[in-house]
Amino acid sequence: MNQQTLFKIIDKTSVAMKILMIIMICLLTTYYAKAEEPPRLQIGGELLTDQRMFIEQENDWAWNENRLNLRLEKRTERIRFFGNVWLRHLGEPTLTGSHELLIRDNVQPWNLNLREAYFEVREFLSDDIDLKIGRQIINWGTADYFNPTNMLNPMDLEDALDFSRKNGALALNVNWFINSEWSFQGVYLPHFSPANLPIGPFAGVFHSQIELPQGLQLANYRDVLELPRNNVSEGATIGFRLKGFVLGTDISLSYIYGREHLPLADLVMLSPADQPGKVNIDGNLIFPRYHMAGADMAGTIGNVGVWAEAAVFFPEREVIMTTDFSQLHGFPQGTPMFMRDSVVLSQKPYMRYIIGADYTFGNGIYLNVQYLHGFFNERGRGNQNDYLLLAVERNFLGDRLLVRPIAGGLGIADWQNPEENYSVFFTPKIIFRGIDNLELTLGAYVFGGKGNSIFTKFSELDMITFSARVSF
């Protein structure tokens, strides 16, 4: 059996599985919708179309997503079941030959994504304990959108512009409500799942740059993912959180023993390619362990809302990347003839944190300011950049129109030389909610910068966006 045949079988199997899942969802929905005993299954969700167009590049489409977001929920006095499925047409077809026109899924790419499916038991064993089991998204932290302590679920980076999106993960989630003000949460995620990376024009924005010896160019890149052993301890993540209310302030302390969801390279091997002056690279990628201690708070100072959230990461071991030049011996002249080690993740603890405030002026203008130290992909001591984030918005027409003329931020990667190491991003939006259950959004993403910063990589991806969302 050749590889192509195997892919076709996998593809057909995948299609059959998708169809089976849809039939099961429909049957389940129909069954419960007809059931008369209260409380009934509640079915809700959204239809979304999200379209983005590059401002340059001859206005190529940057994104084409059409999503049916289906939520199913049923609750009895003590048990709640929740499921969330995305059925999507996503992206553009990547067709290489007429033979691919025979495969409908290649022409019309679509996918099914089980976001969450869990049940929750209230007052489990005791009046003060709630238990949640199943595929779920657990959100920690009190900051707005950027949450350094929110590390339990793997990131869903498919849409590179939605940094806060998480993938669901199987978890055992226990909440003990000690009293009306304090609670303690314990979480166990048995399986490890890495983050999925951005697709389409954003693919590669989170990849590290590999510096090649002078005069050499990359021909092919391959790597191997070294996933942790899939057993009860190696791939597992555990977390604890104590949450309370002190002196008018919501606070929490958290701890996670987990794994990086974005890989790090510990081996890079260079070998000569067939073409002159070009090399192949073979890499080995790992997902290192860490301990995380976190703290967050949200409260008010006068009339101003304030919050702060910090996470200190203690890498379990140092990660050294070995770059193996040995196969390039004498090719071309001047190429190092040895193996070089460099530390890509020091064992020294490092911190990511955010502080923020918001205020609404008497005329209804809402201001939100945050200072972030360390983006989620900036790991290792000394590798955290600084970002100032700002949003200004105001509602008009009786909350039917939200205008966010100023939204974005400034990132500084090197304070010694900020002129050459900065990034700026500007993301204004207009949201129209004039008709119940309909939301229309028109926006733009404009990026710029120099040097080593995440948003610098977006600098040629300025775009205009339009989305329509209908809730049901």
Partner: protein, 247 residues
Amino acid sequence: MKKSQGLLFLLFAGLFLSSGTLSALTPTEILRRMDEVMFQPGDQTSNARMIMVDRHGNERVREATIWQKGGEKRLFRFTSPASEAGIAFLSLPNDLMYLYLPAFGRERRIAAHLKNQNFAGTDFTYEDLEVRRYAETFSGTILRQEGNLIVMELRPLPGITSDYSRIVVTVNRTNFLPEKTEAYDRGGNLVKSATHTWARQGEFWFPQEIHMRDLRRGSSTRMIMRNVRFNTNLSDQIFTVRNLTSF
């Protein structure tokens, strides 16, 4: 003839007696009486239909379930339309308010600066929906008495956070229920006006309809209460962040 004269005397005597009793009441005592009547049931649950009309006459409808315990705790959860369903607001003692937006999957503290913001597009601000006992929130002054009505000016007590500088409330002297409230901003401008229609169910009064007008926006919201149930022994657990975010 004598009999009718006697009845007339009794009626007048009753009126004078009532007036005399009222005049003996201090504004604080009137506020306490209002609290006693309005928060008489230990708890109540109701379904609210909110009809929002903008300045152009366009109408939108929201539906919600409201749970309230005494004069301290209130949970408000939208049930329709779909885009708003699940949005919930929890009001607790000591100026503590939380908002739950299902899309975010976690609660958010409502800071003081947000209290003057309209809740989910209605003409009720977070402050308007907060549960507060009049006597513990305001100091009062009787402005005038008009027939069966007493018009009082209320100002927030020291230490009370409010976006309103003063509220003029018209109280029915027979049942101590507010029939009309007018709220002024810190600049002294009249910004809100509400009329209350009260109904009696068994031994308890409840606001059958509150018609809130936002004079700045030119819009109004009628909140109509239905299926009101009293003293069903609502658990304190309903009024917790735990309940706000999950059940």
